[in-house]
């Protein structure tokens, strides 16, 4: 019995170690390759640890104007987009969380239906085009101003975590609904607000498809589109291997590793601090109201 128990523990621990290895290896490889001599990377000599450590690739990225422009654009889109997301989601979630709101069920149906059936890519694209948003940052922000899933999560939080008695008492004291929301509900909802900010911000940071269809002018490209160009389209140039350009090609290849790190860094730095909030967000979503 005890021996079986011990064997079981050994097997479980071994499985866990294998999983950690599989998840971490690709990340470690990219980090190591980004700090290695490009010639060694291309020769397939880098396995796990950097060879002939150099930061040349990072220096090259610092000189690359497109990357910085993309970075700046993404920061702007993420900040403005997240602020609008949060305001819109609160404005919808709070009234719908109120049990005393006449017509609440109909309104919830009106909103949740859109989760199960939507117009799809083409009609949405034509709409955004008709509204004159193409090639402006609004095309990336306004069509996705509310995520219905996030709205439902936030509404559930308002309903289940804030005692209705507090709100009723405030009403009796003559508190208006706006003041109730701003002075009582929101200060009590900091955890869910943190989760929502993170959900929305990461989605903005990582998104590329909307920019791909709506942005024409390259100076408006967010970081992910610049990345796409560097990661996916410089490949053919590298494959040619034209003599004389060799160094440049080597550098172009090594930039790929470094740019993955540079673009993901903000999220990875944030990650350890916010990880438990993300988890909490998923849990609240699973309760569902």
């Amino acid at each position: 019995m005890v021996r079986g128990e011990r064997l079981f523990n050994v097997v479980i621990c071994a499985l866990a170690a294998i999983i950690i290895g599989i998840v971490l290896y690709p990340l470690l490889f990219v980090v190591s390759a980004s700090f290695s001599d490009p010639a060694k990377v291309l020769g397939g000599e880098v396995w796990l640890l950097p060879k002939s450590v150099t930061a040349e690739a990072y220096r090259e990225i610092f000189r690359n104007k497109e990357v910085w422009l993309g970075y700046r654009n993404t920061i702007v889109y993420t900040v403005v987009g997240t602020v609008i997301n949060i305001i819109m989601t609160i404005l919808a979630a709070y009234p719908l969380s109120r049990p005393d709101l006449p017509g609440r069920k109909v309104l919830m149906l009106f909103i949740t239906l859109t989760m199960f059936f939507s117009g799809g890519l083409i009609p949405t694209y034509l709409l955004v085009k008709d509204l004159g948003m193409v090639d402006t940052m609004w095309s990336l922000i306004v069509p996705g101003a509310i995520s219905t899933y996030n709205l439902i999560v936030m509404r559930t939080y308002f309903q289940s975590s804030i005692p209705w008695e507090i709100q009723e008492a405030a009403h009796i004291d003559g508190c208006s609904n706006w003041r109730l929301l701003l002075n009582i509900i929101l200060p009590l909802s900091k955890p869910i607000l943190a989760v929502m900010i993170l959900f929305y911000a990461v989605a903005h940071w990582n998104s590329f498809f909307n920019a791909l269809i709506y942005m024409r002018d390259e100076s408006h490209y967010p970081l992910q589109l610049v990345l796409r160009e560097i990661l996916m389209f410089s490949q053919s140039a590298a494959a040619d291997g034209t003599v004389g350009l060799e160094d440049k090609i080597l550098l172009a290849e090594s930039i790929k590793y470094a740019i993955i790190i540079v673009s993901s860094l903000p999220v990875w730095i944030m990650y350890p601090f916010v990880q438990r909030h993300f988890v909490k967000g998923v849990m609240i979503g699973s309760i569902k109201g």
């Binding site: 950690i20 971490l24 397939g44 819109m88 005393d100 083409i122 009609p123 849990m283």
Partner: protein
């Protein structure tokens, strides 16, 4: 998930009494500011969610930008028959269905296994590490994931081919061979999402009454037996709900990633309905035709969801509604 209706019966009943009374108007008037808050979101939903539904009529029209959506001529089901008769119809449908079906069969159980491993680990610290590390890839963007695939699987410098060569094999051009498209697509999805998807199962496992395990231990049940007879049955409702939700976007999974991984060499296996809508609709401007294809996709999706939800309700008494 059916608990919503039964929650807080006093409020519901008092509210319905009020509504039945003639004071409904007063109720609304006194809460006008709540409707004021809702105004902007409702307008947004009308324009950006219901607007495209209105625009969907171009699937049955010959859309002409000069005439507008309402002014274009009706053509009935012409676009649908053209799609069904096209040589690529079966290819698109099979690729769409098979990628998602294989994903479901292979990728769906893995987060469950991971959650069980996390719960069974003897050391709490170790299981925290395992969780935090496996969640991490969820936050990497699709563009970066596909970029990493290219670097890791590169025939010249990638470590995967390095390993193959070390064992005497010849390098494989993974991203350019059509037959490798689906395995790579699915396994990289597993790599990215298994941790994140395990969160719900972990939460459900924590919620299982510990006395059940104690009792089973007393009766001499082994760890595997306890997993089989207590842990798994305990998370079946969560499994069912997540399965329904997964099938709810059955036809749309991973569209952006497919698009990024697609190239002229693997198009045979990577051409799915949603990427076809993008390339033919947005890039080539065949709006009506691709709106029809998109509609076909959404309808199949909805039907699948309704069917699965009904099945789930019959078999396990768990369902979305």
């Amino acid at each position: 998930m059916n608990t919503a209706q039964t929650k807080n019966p006093t409020i519901v009943s008092s509210r319905s009494r009020v509504i039945r009374g003639s004071r409904l108007f007063k109720q609304i008037a006194r809460r006008y500011d709540l409707y004021l808050m809702l105004l902007l979101p409702i307008v947004w939903y009308l324009i950006f969610q219901y607007g495209p539904l209105y625009g969907l009529q171009i699937a049955f029209k010959d859309f002409n930008p000069a005439k507008g959506i309402a002014g274009s001529d009706w053509v009935g089901f012409e676009h649908f028959t053209r799609f069904f008769d096209s040589y690529y119809f079966w290819r698109l449908l099979w690729n769409t269905v098979s990628i998602n079906l294989f994903s479901l069969l292979i990728a769906f159980p893995i987060p469950i296994l991971l959650a069980l491993i996390i719960q069974e680990l003897p050391s709490k610290g170790f299981s925290k590490w395992l969780q935090n590390i496996t969640y991490l890839p969820h936050f990497i963007s699709v563009v970066v994931i596909v970029g990493m695939l290219q670097l890791l699987l590169s025939p010249k410098s990638g470590p995967v081919n390095g390993l193959i060569e070390a064992f005497g094999g010849t390098p494989i051009r993974f991203l350019e061979e059509a037959s490798w498209f689906k395995p790579i697509f699915i396994s990289s999805n597993i790599w990215q999402n298994m941790g994140w998807q395990s969160i719900m199962y972990i939460a459900a496992l924590i919620g299982i009454n510990p006395q059940l395990y104690e009792a089973a231990k007393m009766d001499g049940a082994s760890r595997l037996r306890r997993i089989w007879h207590i842990s798994l049955p305990g998370i079946v409702p969560v499994i069912v709900i997540l399965l329904i939700l997964d099938i709810g976007h059955f036809m749309n999974i991973g569209f952006e990633k497919v698009l990024l991984m697609q190239n002229s060499l693997n198009i045979e296996k990577s051409d799915v309905i949603s990427t076809f809508v993008y390339t033919t609709g947005i890039l080539k401007g065949e709006y009506s035709y691709t709106a029809a294809i998109g509609l076909f996709n959404s309808v199949i999706n909805l039907v699948l969801l309704l069917v699965v939800n009904r099945f789930a309700r019959k078999l396990s008494e768990t369902s979305l509604w």
